[in-house]
């Protein structure tokens, strides 16, 4: 029902918008008239002309986006009909309105706009998020389909149409063989935009997807070459084509494709290099990605090489290094912006395809031509796919079955690239341009709408292996890595040169040279795929750990007297969801900013929710976070808070891991040894840094965090019942805890804290307080909690605050 109601007002809005647009040119005229009679100073004036162009552009973008909202209001419709089809239909409707209002086709998809502004974001998005391993693993297959397949399609379609023309079925047309070949070359290419749009919603398995998609990207080189070659041939005239020209054509294919790739790779290198040095300009990091990639596109276009290949390979090659070098926030920004641009461009393309169709001036209908084109492209594609697959299956590990072949042939969609290319044709040179344009429009509509609509049921009916969206499990990654090594080893032992060998060689080369040049030093360290998964798991673990603990009614994994003392609130009372929500929400939102303003919270202690919050806060503080002072930044365009989640995540993980590992046999056995080992380790470190003048081992640690971790180890492995050690070893970071426990629980704070001599409360300066943490002195009151050597308590100066 909601679906029904929604289109109504939406349509109304759009209609109003367009009528206004139609009326505006007339308004312009009105303005000029009144401007003629001088009226002195005008308080408000209507300067349509002034803003006309950007206004219209913005308006169209708005219309397209609103349309998208409208479509997704009805889930039923979008699950059956692909969005691209809906957009085309919408475009037709809008085109009709504009036509009716103004009788001129004022808006069309011009090739310039398409090739310069709409296509690059989509292709960049494809390249940047390309699963490299899958892509290069199937590169042979993809190349075969892209090159041979496209040439086959172009040749057969063109020649067949020519043959039919010769037979007279098409009637009288002013075309020659070359025209047909030209037409064949532009209609043969599978379109990346259309493929993405449709396959996105179908979810076939990744191998199939990458083959079709890769083919659609890489066939650009072939398309460009064929198109240019045949266009120049047509210009020359059919009889002046020589053998040399043909050879030149073939050579130009190699030049165009390899040159385009090279341009892309060079720019990828530049981009990676640049992002290596952007540490202090984090805000504009995302900009580099877009600008440099776009430059690769334009440069390649300038050199008449394949621009799509350039930007694709730019994205493919730079992704690893860029993702490693830029900060998390920049990576997210890049991701979202790219998706937004690509999605927006796609929407606009399809809508304008619809609009551009409503232009009676370009329509020329020839039944035979149109029908035969449709038939030929489908049939020849199917034949081509079958033949090539038969050849490929002799060399492939993973065979391509009949079902895959059906999907591949059916999924060969034509789209806006073909349309843009056909519109570029010069009427003077190609007499039947309008016929070609109309036919292309029909073909594009047919493939996108009809094939797009039916491919989903087809896939389901044929039971194509669907993609399984799964969280990357750590085990899988590990074993996958083990696999690679095993297979490389077997290949080495058996003396073969195979995929694994090559991949191995490449990753060695990459690690030794490329990563050193292109990746930031800090990134080199942590940019292992396994570590990525690990990192993610840490975070998830922390969140689920706390959530789970709350759900159980008490933080069952942590049995510690201090919690029991403090927590007056019984967690097992209902509303677990709210608590979970609050904590997990906090965690997810911004891990580092959990520090709450404790003073204000205390005052409102009445409500149970606040006590819960406080209790959870205490627990969090105690077990998960080092609280940090809130930075009251003024709004700054150049500063971002530095991201220190990583260390905290590590700590969290260590902690939870230790607790949980107690349930493993070997962990239990190993614990005692570890405890000793940890103590030894600590002593060792102390020894190493010993200054000669200090009698006892109170030495500065190299970083507070490190110290914390090590103490942590000790803590975790020791029996939880050892309360005294517990509090003392927490270090100066738990001052908040201390404050509150002193205030709220009138009972004794955990004895350990008493030992450590925490300040009792409040605003008195805490800076003159030293506490003994195990072997080290910690300065309570400032963040610096690592101890340093001091023969006596209080006799030294804290390096952090110089007290």
């Amino acid at each position: 029902m909601s679906g029904r109601g929604a289109p109504g007002p939406r349509c109304g809005l759009l209609l109003a918008l367009l009528l206004a647009l139609g009326a505006l040119p007339r308004a312009r005229g009105v303005e000029e008239q009144s401007g003629g009679a001088s009226q002195g100073f005008q308080v408000v004036s209507f300067k349509w002309h002034h803003v006309k162009d950007p206004y219209i552009i913005a308006l169209w973008i708005l219309v397209a986006s609103l349309a998208k909202i409208g479509f997704h209001l009805s889930h039923k419709v979008t699950s059956v009909v692909p969005e691209s089809a809906l957009l085309i239909v919408l475009g037709l409707v809008l085109g009709g309105i504009v036509w009716a209002a103004d009788h001129i086709a004022s808006f069309t998809l011009t090739p310039t706009v398409f090739f310069f502004y709409l296509l690059p974001p989509i292709v960049l998005d494809a390249g940047y998020f390309m699963p490299n391993r899958l892509f290069f693993g199937n590169l042979g297959t993809i190349l075969l389909y892209a090159v041979v397949g496209t040439v086959w399609n172009a040749a057969t379609t063109g020649l067949s149409l020519y043959g039919v023309f010769l037979s007279g079925l098409m009637g009288d047309l002013k075309v020659g063989l070359l025209d047909f070949l030209l037409f064949g070359s532009l209609i043969a290419a599978v379109d990346p935009v259309a493929v993405l749009a449709v396959f996105e919603e179908v979810h076939v398995n990744e191998v199939l997807f990458i083959i079709v998609f890769g083919e659609s990207l890489l066939n650009d080189a072939v398309t460009v070459v064929l198109y240019n070659v045949f266009e120049s041939f047509v210009t020359l005239g059919g009889d002046k084509v020589t053998g040399v020209d043909c050879v030149k054509g073939i050579v130009s294919f190699f030049v165009v494709s390899l040159g385009g790739t090279l341009v892309g790779v060079v720019f990828a290198f530049l981009l990676s290099l640049v992002t290596r040095f952007t540490k202090h300009v984090r805000i504009i990091e995302p900009g580099f990605v877009f600008v440099i990639s776009y430059l690769s596109y334009l440069t390649s276009e300038m050199l008449s090489l394949s621009a799509i290949l350039a930007i694709t390979f730019c994205g493919i090659c730079c992704q690893k290094y860029v993702k490693a070098n830029i900060s998390e926030q920049s990576a997210t920004t890049v991701r979202y912006t790219m998706k937004m641009l690509a999605s927006g461009a796609e929407t606009i393309i399809f809508m304008f395809l619809g609009i551009s169709a409503v232009n009676p001036r370009i329509w020329k209908w020839n039944t035979a031509f149109v029908l035969l084109t449709l038939v030929f492209i489908s049939v020849y594609r199917a034949i081509g796919v079958v033949l090539q697959t038969w050849v490929l299956n002799r060399y492939r590990m993973v065979q391509l079955e009949i079902i895959d072949q059906v999907v591949m042939s059916y999924g060969g969609l034509r789209g806006a690239v073909a349309f843009a290319l056909v519109v570029l044709l010069d009427e003077q040179k190609v007499k039947e341009r309008n016929l070609f344009v109309s036919t292309t429009i029909i073909v594009v509509f047919f493939t996108v709408v009809f094939q797009g609509l039916t491919i989903k049921p087809l896939v389901q009916w044929l039971k194509v292996k669907r993609s399984q969206h799964r969280e990357p499990k750590l085990n899988e990654k590990l074993h996958g890595r083990a696999f690679d090594h095993i297979l490389s080893a077997i290949e080495d032992i058996s003396g073969q040169i195979g995929h694994n060998y090559l991949r191995d060689k490449w990753s060695n080369f990459d690690r030794k040279f490329l990563s050193k040049i292109l990746m930031r030093r800090s990134a080199q360290k942590s940019r292992d795929r396994i570590l990525n998964v690990f990192h993610e798991l840490n975070l998830k673990d922390a969140i689920s750990y706390v959530a789970e603990g709350e759900r159980r009614g008490s933080l069952a994994f942590i049995r510690s007297p201090s919690t029991d003392n403090m927590v007056n609130v019984d967690f097992s009372t209902p509303r677990p969801s709210t608590v979970e929500a609050s904590v997990s929400y906090l965690l997810r939102e911004n891990v580092s900013a959990v520090c709450l303003d404790m003073q204000s919270l205390e005052q409102r202690r009445r409500s149970i929710r606040d006590t819960e919050d406080m209790a959870t806060h205490h627990t969090l503080q105690q077990y998960l976070y080092k609280p940090r002072q809130e930075y009251k930044h003024l709004y700054s365009r150049h500063e971002l808070t530095p991201n220190e989640d990583e260390k905290q995540d590590k700590e969290i993980f260590h902690r939870t891991m230790r607790k949980r590992l107690e349930s493993f046999k070997s962990a239990k056995l190993g614990i005692n040894q570890n405890k000793k080992a940890a103590k030894l380790y600590k002593r060792e470190r102390a020894q190493k840094r010993r200054n000669s003048s200090i009698p006892n081992g109170k030495l500065p640690m190299e970083s507070p965090v490190h110290n914390f971790t090590i103490k942590e180890k000790d803590l975790e492995l020791s029996d939880p019942e050892e309360a005294p050690d517990y509090g003392a070893e927490m270090g100066g970071g738990i001052e908040f805890l201390a404050n509150v426990t002193q205030d709220t629980t009138a009972t004794d704070s955990p004895s350990g804290e008493g030992q450590a001599g925490w300040p009792s409360s409040g605003p008195r300066s805490e800076h003159d307080h030293w506490s003994l943490d195990g072997d080290f002195w910690a300065h309570v009151g400032c963040e610096w909690q690592a101890g340093f050597s001091a023969p006596e308590k209080g006799a030294g100066t804290c390096p952090a605050c110089h007290v």
């Binding site: 590990l478 095993i486 077997i490 073969q496 080199q524 993980f653 260590h654 493993f664």
Partner: protein, 197 residues
């Protein structure tokens, strides 16, 4: 479990190359393979060649030397799956491959991969990357073990002890992943695909 005769010949030549024209190979002979040096889990792989369980000669222990037939036995674990095989045979092949992997991880042949063994494997695996510290490697191993436990056993009580990953658990972990298509080596360029009769 045959490989085609062309491939056997090629492998025989390779065998002779490795063994120095001797009828058997010892562990030291594998040092002649230069690229193997860079492989982080080299020791485990070489060991797998001599593992009695893989050679079907016993349930534990290592052989001192292997002959060509043994060599082929090990290589046959890596043959690709033939599309003409039926479901049951595919399952068998899959189990065989997984068993090979399992034996690699389970170094003390007790039928379980304990936490220590797992840690050992992961540390070796990640030792190739100079930037990952041992501590991280251990944590990763621990995390992976946790994950495996949660897959195999589900939610564990605080005082429940998990001995280690058995072969059945191992199969469970690998359920979703099609090892048949991933764990194989292309023998002899692109000539013939190995057959599993």
């Amino acid at each position: 479990m045959l490989i085609s005769s062309d491939q056997i010949e090629q492998l025989h030549r390779r065998f002779k190359q490795l063994s120095g024209d001797q009828p058997t190979i010892r562990k030291e002979n594998f040092n002649n393979v230069p690229d193997l040096e860079l492989n982080p889990i080299r020791s485990k792989i070489v060991r797998a060649f001599f593992d009695n369980r893989n050679l079907r000669k016993g349930s534990s222990g290592l052989a001192d030397e292997i002959n060509f037939e043994d060599f082929l036995t090990i290589m046959s674990y890596f043959r690709p799956i033939d599309t003409t095989m039926d479901e049951e045979q595919v399952q068998l092949c899959r189990k065989e491959k997984l068993r090979f992997l399992f034996h690699m991880y389970d170094s003390d042949s007790d039928g379980r991969i304990t936490l220590e063994e797992y840690r050992n494997v992961v540390e070796e695996l990640l030792s190739g990357n100079p930037h990952i510290e041992k501590e991280s490697a251990r944590s990763i191993a621990d995390g992976a073990m946790m994950e495996a436990a949660s897959v195999c056993v589900g939610q564990m009580e605080p005082d429940q002890v998990y001995e280690g990953i058995t072969f059945d658990d191992f199969l469970k972990i690998w359920q979703g992943i099609d090892i048949e298509t991933k764990m194989h080596v292309r023998f002899l360029n692109m000539e013939t695909i190995a057959l599993c009769h």
